[in-house]
């Protein structure tokens, strides 16, 4: 019996040993949040904000260019396509293409804002003249501009719906923080100038023309600031390039846009495209269920082609727009014509007969200058809201483009379904599937 008991005891000991296993394992890969407090990690935080900003810009630029007819849908509707309803101008809350830029822009904002706060706490010298902090603030600000320019309503931090101006106001705050933090550090001059340019564009939306002009004046005409993409990772290719590069997608074309004829007639290098002698991905119902010619845009010829976030040329357009607001269309056209004359090939000067015609030309010129930069939807909305003269819009294209639109076509994205369902401060289902007409 004793022997048996010993055997049993041995077994129990072994069992206990098994039970005393160490469950601590170290797995490489994800980074614990606490490590981000170290200053060595701060630049990567700012880069993370940049990544999400660029992602949002990338997707919005691509999708929105078809909505605004900077490009024309060429059939594909999912993945790299343009959804059927978006093709006809319906931007609805449950559309899949509405969701991902919303998520990315919010992440860029959060990573930038929270990163800036973390750096303020954990960087011994604080945020002033500190490149990671300057960039975190800058990318957060641009993300807020993206939200404001493209969404009729916004929400932050799980809160309720607020007007889109809240995004612009918040963007202005963060552009200002960028400028303040950059101070006079020479190595941060580019970021600081970008912040001036970004703040100027936001102030335009807020109607603060004096502030916009003041900022614009600090941005040289040659200044450019880009969202950058990656030639090595398919998910980070320039989407407008990749969706229309026949690898394998031919989801958009310049066919049937105003830029098709314009480029044919002018060879204006700002809106290049090439006829690939083939057709788009799939049939397009709104033009008769046919496959449409595939004219490939050439503004972004590479996977890594950057998308302009701000530029000196945009600042000159702001200055011109202010002049038009003031009725001085001759001076406004002078700004535009200076740019046109410098192009290769040089474009003929614009000589409007009156202010209204000047507005029309200006709107077209801004569309050409900022072609495929994801800015047009906001411009169209802004001009419509302000009853800006010069008409255009209604897809501002030649031909029968207007007939492709359905009733309820809107010029902004609503808050995405996922946000509504997960945010207890917002109703799950909106009163209208698209943005309310007055927003």
């Amino acid at each position: 019996m004793l022997t048996r008991a010993m055997r049993l005891g041995s077994a129990v000991l072994l069992v206990a040993a098994a039970g005393a296993c160490d469950f601590e394992v170290t797995n490489p890969g994800p980074t614990d949040d606490k490590f981000l407090d170290r200053p060595q990690a701060h630049q990567a935080i700012a880069n993370g904000a940049a990544y999400y900003l660029f992602d949002a810009v990338n997707e919005l630029t691509y999708t929105t260019s078809a909505v605004t007819r900077e490009l024309f849908p060429a059939g594909s509707t999912s993945s790299f396509g343009i959804a059927q309803r978006q093709q006809t101008g319906l931007l609805e809350y449950d559309e899949e293409h509405v969701g991902s830029p919303w998520v990315s822009a919010q992440r860029a904002r959060y990573v930038g804002e929270s990163g800036f706060a973390r750096m303020a706490e954990t960087n011994p010298a604080g945020t002033n003249n500190y490149k990671p902090a300057v960039e975190a603030a800058l990318y957060a600000a641009y993300a807020l501009r993206v939200l404001g320019e493209n969404h009729c309503e916004v929400a932050f931090d799980g809160g309720g719906i607020v007007p889109r101006d809240s995004a612009f106001a918040r963007a202005e705050v963060w552009f200002t923080k960028t400028i303040d933090a950059a101070g006079s550090t020479a190595s941060l001059a580019t970021q600081k100038t970008a912040a001036y340019a970004g703040r100027a564009s936001v102030r335009v939306f807020r109607g603060n023309w004096a502030g916009a002009l003041a900022d614009a004046a600090l941005v040289p005409t040659t200044f450019t600031f880009y969202a950058r993409f990656d030639a090595t990772q398919q998910g980070f290719y320039n989407r407008t390039y990749f969706a229309g590069a026949n690898q394998p997608y031919k989801a958009v074309t310049t066919w049937n846009t105003k830029y098709q004829d314009y480029y044919t007639q002018t060879k204006d290098p700002r809106v290049p495209w090439v006829d690939r002698k083939t057709t788009g991905d799939a049939a397009v119902l709104m033009v008769g269920n046919i496959r449409v010619p595939f004219y490939e845009q050439q503004k972004y010829p590479l996977r890594e082609s950057g998308i302009m976030l701000s530029s000196g040329r945009e600042m000159r357009l702001i200055e011109a727009e202010k002049l038009l607001n003031d009725g001085n269309y001759t001076a406004a056209m002078a700004i535009l014509n200076a740019r046109r004359a410098a192009l290769n090939p040089a474009q003929p000067a614009l000589n409007p007969a009156n202010l209204t015609e000047a507005w029309t030309l200006f709107k077209a010129e801004r569309g050409i200058e900022l072609w495929l930069e994801g800015r047009r939807l906001g411009d169209l909305w802004r001009w419509k809201k302000n009853n800006t003269p010069g008409a255009l819009h209604e897809l501002e294209t030649a031909g029968a483009a207007k007939s492709y639109l359905v009733a309820g076509q809107t010029l902004a994205y609503p808050i995405y379904k996922f946000e509504r369902e997960a945010n207890e401060n917002i109703d799950n289902v909106p009163a209208t599937v698209s943005c309310p007409a007055n927003k």
Partner: protein, 1005 residues
Amino acid sequence: MSLSLSAPGRRIRGWAGSVLAVALMALALWASPSAAQQATGSITGEIHSRSGAPLSEVQVFIVGTQMGGLTAGNGRYVIRSVPAGTHQVRAMRIGYETVTQSVTVAAGQAAAANFQLAEQALGLDEIVVTGTAGAARRREVGNSIVQIQTTMAPPTTNVDQMLQAQSPGLLVSAAGGSSGSGAQIRLRGAVSVAQSNQPIIYIDGVRVRSEPYSRNISPTEGAGRGGNVTASPLSDINPADIERIEIIKGAAASTLYGTDAAAGVIQIFTKRGTTGTQRWNLQIDQGFNRLLPFAPDVDVRPIPDPLPEGPRGTYSYKYLNMQPYLRQIDVPGLGSFQGAYRQKYSLSVTGGGQFLQYFISANSEDNLGVLPQDQEKKAGFRGNFTFTPFNALTVQTNAAYNRTDIQNTAAGNNAQGLPLNAFRRERNYFQEGNADSIMMLIVTPQEITTRIDRFVLGSTASYDPGGAFNTKLTFGYDQALQDNRHLRPYGFRQQPTGKLYTSAGSYTTLTADLVASYRLGFGEGRSLMLSGGGQSITSDVREVEAEGTDFAGPGDPDVDAGANRLSWERRVRYVTAGFFGQALFNLNDKYFITLGMRVDGNSAFGESLGLTSYPKVSASYVISDEDFWNESFGSLKLRAAYGQSGRAPGTFDAVRTWTAVGYNGQPTYRPENLGNPALGPERTGETEFGFDWAGFDNRLTADFTWYHRKTTDALFGVRYPPSEGFATSQQENVGTLKNHGFELNLRGTAYDGESWGVDLGATLYTNHSKVVSLGGAAPFSGGGSWIEEGYPVTLTRGVIVVNPESKSDPRYFCDSSEGQAAQAAGNACILVDEPLGPQAPTHVFGGNVTVRMPRGIELSARGEYQGGHYIYDGPTNEGVNRNIRWPTCAEYYKLTDAGQGADAPAQMRYNCDSRFYRRGTMTYPADFFKLRDVTVRVPLGTLVPRSQSTSLTVSAQNFYRWRNKDFPIFDPEMVSNTGYGAAVPQITEHIPPPASFVASIRVVF
């Protein structure tokens, strides 16, 4: 210089074949019974069933020794070198009564001992080991346990096929028709929303990998550019090596397996050596797979119409334009027909002496797939050795190695895949409807290969001195090495400068398991068996992936030939360990109560959680052993069980983390996981009641089980608003799920004559699940399914067209002002995200019949109906959305082509007019019936010279299918784009699983 992947493989197999044959013979000779050192004789005889049919695979052995063997196909056996004297000879086979008889052997003589074994319908004294601490007799077990004998199973390529329709509550769905595709296995439905519902797998007591292998797809191509095939670790096991499979279906039985066992346990027992004469088994399988039509044959053709006939065949909607690409078999003199040739060769030898018995096997197979590039080759060997250094100690060591080479055609929701582009014809991504062009552009250039080398080693030392104490110690090592490669060469139309993806994965599982039992007697008829033990499972995953793009020119590149290169690494180690105790009370061998507890720790638990425990209790009552029981009532065991088990969260779910990745040459931190220090396992408690009954002289048996499962602390990916800026979901223990149902298994002998007999069987299984609580979380979706309080786990939502017969456009939401106006006018409006029903079957019926004929010929058939569920059809949704003329819309096209589109009812417009597209439009009731197999077995006696027996089996599997009338296209068993590992079944741009036809000849020497 680079080498072709396939060339070394062929060399190794050729070399391996020779070495294997020599090794098999050497080992066999070494372990043969030693020449008798004393006066010996032999025992020989035949074993028959009660009806007189010879019984193969019966274990015949001398009690108290390792001497014995198995009967051949003709029921004969011989035990040699038996010491002269009187011995107790015992004959055992699962499903039959054990019979022992006394035999006296004279020196130099052969003693005869024939047996007749009666079928033991309930098998109350059979030993089962799965779900119990150590082994137990069936009568002692309070939970249901399935035991599948493989002897009579039709010849199959994979274990998952072998399991199909074998038991109520066990659902096996072949994921798709591509080579190497694994099958999804569910036991009593889903227990988890966030974690895997695939049962865990043991082989001979060793925990092995049960989760899917990695897909052969670059991380940069989330949509999945490869074959979109997920291989299953179960496919590495040669079905011919399996003796039996035990399955426990849920927490009521799986408590002692602890965390991870909530979805059930499948334990595979491979064959063991037996003493006595060496016995060689040769099995040759020849057959083919054939794709069944899966689309309606309608008379409205796509544009252009009519289609030209391509040189590769006739275009047809029945295969949704896939017909020209499907593999053909050329039969000399008869022409060719659609089918993919498969062949398999298995050789095994079993034998041994008193100290060592062995089972050694080798197999090789080559299965072409129905898609033009598809092929699966396997080769492997196994050595199972039983050492008995002294009577009380047995050491069982099993080692198996298997190599699988899979070659795939690009498929799935893949713009560079064959089915997607074939389905969409000239409106595909290549703008080519011509089959030869598609072959040239899409299929032939791409090389998609996967190699899996799997090695499983297990050793169990059992010490049983024959008294009250016994103990068993098991160590196991399972390693799978996976090598993936996907090449799109320079010049490939959609990747003009080429792309090569390659990955190497190592998946290791280590098992250490100790169990000890001590039996205490408390007077006559009362005893207590105490058992305890500990177990540690360590899983280690290491994956390295690389991608090279933009090659300098044509050739056979490696990754570093690319001008742009990317790489990824993943290392995850995961430990679960615990100890358990069990007490089994036995009163008069009729009443049994089992109490048990498992205490577990896990490396994925949150810091504040510590250990967790899972209790179990079960009772069994063999009421038919009572004095008051009338024997004419048959045998009856009542049983009840309750147990808990769990599923651990993901490795990193408990920690707030960021992912550090490069972007455009810059390091970035991106939000990954919110973290939750209190995160623990989800806990599934399961109650089951049932009975096992056999009556009418054992001609009819019935197993019935009612079960009720409740998963608390269910892990849900609780959604967080994107506007908060961090991760949009976090695993939290917030939910409560439940499901319930019953299982009924009836087996009967309708006729049992001397030469003829008919056995019938029927099964019924129901499963009704419900999300009881979301813990305050909002309803959420993932992968096409919804989790919502009060609805099944998981729920299909879809679009409902109100006033579907009205001749109006279904454009507006019904609750919008426009929709309300439309409705008021009798026109259509739509309700979106409407709950339609569950995604898992709610009721499953099975039936089987076996007809025994003269000369031992048997004809058997099994069928299965599954119903009550819904499935989403992605290809139709996406095809219609892209204005591709689709066969399901033939009636609509007739109207629109005739300019009568205004006559189309709203539902038809919604289904066929892309302007009304919304994801989820094409969701169908997925009821179906399939004839799982029809098999004929013909004994051929000693047709083959020098053989003991020869038999021929011809089997047709899954060759007949019935679908719900509202299920217009594809196959309801298609699982997903990503293969069987997907949580939610849905139809994507794959081909359905094909039917199989195989003839197998088995020779025993």
